[in-house]
């Protein structure tokens, strides 16, 4: 008998009689004033968010807040005139020196401040982690109240890799002192497109 059969046999023998799954459809988030709620929560987790009219405003804000002499990459064709477009085929290590990555989220979650990204919108899986600063654009109508609506929206969606990202990387491992910028980005900015 191989290990797999041995383990499965032990599980079958030891598991108790079946219990039913609870109905979780009653769990819903509060859908009032989602943009404001998102911005408030995102601030508490160490992020900055801006409500903007269009992509031109995003460009302006980036020019004001980030060092344009350093390497800035994006997956958005409408930003391709200013910044380097991410290549899905490049060696992920080649993005080691990026200062800022600008990508677009499928949606964000008001209750916890997180954005939902899949590898298609990341350009490469490593991008939102390896950059020194992360900027994410999300349409204002794409803010869902809670994770329940989020997973409803993701549904059976096909992806090889996806992630909720809620804020700059952080640690409090040394004496519970909060430090932003552990191994991932030092800052995270979200642009909410009206």
């Amino acid at each position: 008998m191989n290990t797999r059969e041995k383990i499965l046999g032990a599980v079958l023998q030891n598991q108790p009689p079946t219990t039913t799954l609870p109905d979780i459809t009653r769990f819903k988030g509060n859908s009032i004033d989602l943009v404001q709620k998102y911005m408030d929560v995102f601030k508490t987790i160490g992020g900055s968010s801006f409500l903007v009219d269009d992509i031109a405003a995003v460009k302006l804000s980036i020019a004001e807040n980030f060092d344009a002499t350093k390497r800035i990459v994006t997956t958005l064709p409408e930003l391709g005139d200013r910044f380097e477009l991410i290549s899905a085929a490049a060696d992920p290590h080649s993005y080691e020196n990026i200062e800022l990555a600008i990508i677009k989220a499928h949606f964000s979650v008001a209750e916890n401040g997180a954005v939902w990204l899949t590898e298609e919108v990341m350009g490469q899986r490593i991008i939102p982690y390896i950059c020194q600063h992360l900027a994410v654009i999300v349409n204002a109508e794409n803010i869902v109240p809670s994770l329940h609506e989020a997973y409803e929206r993701i549904g059976a969606g096909e992806y090889g890799f996806g992630a909720f990202i809620g804020g700059p990387s952080k640690t409090a491992d040394i004496e519970q002192a909060l430090v932003l910028g552990a191994h991932g980005p030092l800052t995270m900015t979200v642009f909410i497109l009206k």
Partner: protein
């Protein structure tokens, strides 16, 4: 890094509590996290319903584990992930070694995984010439200090920043006396970035595994799991069988509970959903039993397999806060560790279920509603029955049973106790009575309740 048991919890805790200032600080630091958890929980009106739903989902998992394992395995294969099964810690370690060996990898980066700590994977690989570096900051600090983690979420919560500064000075060449948390974190960031960029093999733990889709979720705040995984040629995930959940939508429940219970955050910064390997990358998943099916077969204790490793039971536990995680001489410390450890080795961990006041605070904060304090009490009975209780405890229990067996005996003993406390306190207050260590006893009452009651009853008449 392995901890072989030489002393029991009480003896190890004694060393920890000698430094009173440190104990007070440790106690306060953990209580602060407990308070943050309370604030976060209170912001969710349906918090208690979420806990109930999470507990029921996990009950369903435990009762259908066989089916979910088969479903998960089939989906993993469909997604292009290689599946391995390990019966024991040793078999798990052998599998990791063989995967790395096949690719001629001799350096690996590892994110936080209590399972691999439990398996002593690092030592196993290092003995065979493979270097492992823990990338979670707290775990990295513990690794360079050659100590296991003292807390499952905050691995070096028992260390002062000056001690960490000293370790960095010794291992990373920082200036002597540097103890600023931000500066120390920046040094580690720089050092570990180079590790991520040069390691071809990466191992992560698993927080949740979805049977329905074959994906697994890894939660971190630092981004270290992803830095390692997305830059690796070979990605390995190790998980205990109990980490399964039935459907993706159930993540909505668990991710709302996990970080709020752990640190009071609304969600961990990163909740990564790994489904398929990157083009050109190998992805392996190891399903580990190592005692879990045995725990599944214990009706009184199987609910411990519901644990989502948030650490809230540790943060709230008065014994944990005052004795430190390393006193538990087990990878998973605190109340949950004390109900998991006896399943692995009852004799060696017979002391742990006694490292509790049975106050029940752990059960009250547990996001999946494990009856932790009841299980601690039940383990004590098992341990006495199996003959593993310490002699003093067994003797104490026998004396108590005799005393409480009739009202007459109780009255006699209580009177004698009072007489001793008032007239010859040194008989009780000495180094042979563990209650007097670091403690002063209050003065005993002048009369017992029954004496007071009898007197008052007569007066009223």
């Amino acid at each position: 890094m392995s901890q072989t048991k030489t002393k029991d919890h009480a003896a190890l805790a004694e060393a920890f509590i000698k430094d009173e200032e440190r104990v007070d600080w440790h106690d306060g630091a953990l209580w602060y996290i407990r308070e943050k958890r309370d604030i976060a929980a209170k912001q969710i009106p349906e918090w208690e319903e979420l806990r109930e739903a999470a507990s029921k989902i996990k009950s369903n998992v435990i009762s259908n584990l066989h089916e979910y394992l088969l479903q998960f395995e089939a989906n993993l294969k469909k997604n292009g992930v290689t599946v391995h099964w390990a019966d024991s810690a040793e078999e798990h370690n052998q599998i990791v070694y063989s995967i790395l060996k096949a690719k001629e990898i001799n350096q690996m980066v590892k994110s936080k995984s209590m399972l691999t700590e439990e398996c002593h994977l690092n030592e196993y690989l290092e003995e065979r010439g493979i270097e492992v570096i823990n990338s979670d900051l707290g775990e990295y600090i513990q690794q360079i200090d050659n100590e296991p983690p003292s807390h499952i979420v905050l691995p070096c919560i028992h260390k002062r920043k000056e001690e960490i500064g000293e370790l960095f000075h010794e291992h990373l060449g920082t200036e002597k006396g540097l103890s600023d948390p931000t500066l120390l974190t920046r040094v580690a960031r720089k050092h570990l970035r180079n590790i991520f960029l040069t390691r071809r093999g990466a191992l992560t733990g698993v927080n949740f595994a979805v049977a329905e889709t074959g994906e697994y979720i890894v939660c971190t705040n630092e981004g270290n799991a992803d830095m390692g995984a997305h830059l690796s040629e070979v990605q390995i995930a190790s998980m205990g069988l109990e980490k399964l959940i039935p459907q993706k939508k159930h993540l909505g429940i668990f991710l709302r509970l996990l970080a709020r219970s752990a640190t009071g955050q609304p969600i961990t910064i990163y909740s990564s959903h790994y489904k398929k390997p990157r083009i050109g990358q190998e992805m392996h998943l190891i399903l580990v039993d190592a005692g879990r099916t045995r725990q599944l077969g214990r009706p009184d204790f199987r609910d411990s397999l519901k644990c989502i490793k948030c650490g809230s039971c540790m943060n709230t536990c008065p014994v944990y806060r005052k004795s430190g995680g390393l006193s538990y001489h087990n990878t998973i410390s605190g109340p949950i560790g004390a109900i998991l450890a006896p399943n692995l080795d009852m004799k060696n961990h017979a002391d742990l279920p006694y490292a509790s006041t049975l106050c029940g605070s752990c059960s009250n904060v547990c996001p999946v509603k494990i009856n932790i304090h009841e299980q601690l009490y039940k383990w004590r009975q098992e341990i006495v029955k199996e003959g593993y209780a310490a002699n003093t405890k067994a003797l104490g229990m026998k004396t108590m049973a005799w005393t409480l067996s009739s009202p007459g005996k109780f009255t006699t003993v209580a009177k004698a106790g009072k007489w001793f406390m008032h007239n010859v306190p040194f008989v009780l207050n000495n180094k042979f009575n563990p209650w007097y260590k670091q403690r002063d006893m209050p003065d005993g009452p002048k009369e017992s309740f029954s004496e007071w009651f009898t007197k008052n009853k007569e007066q009223k008449k």
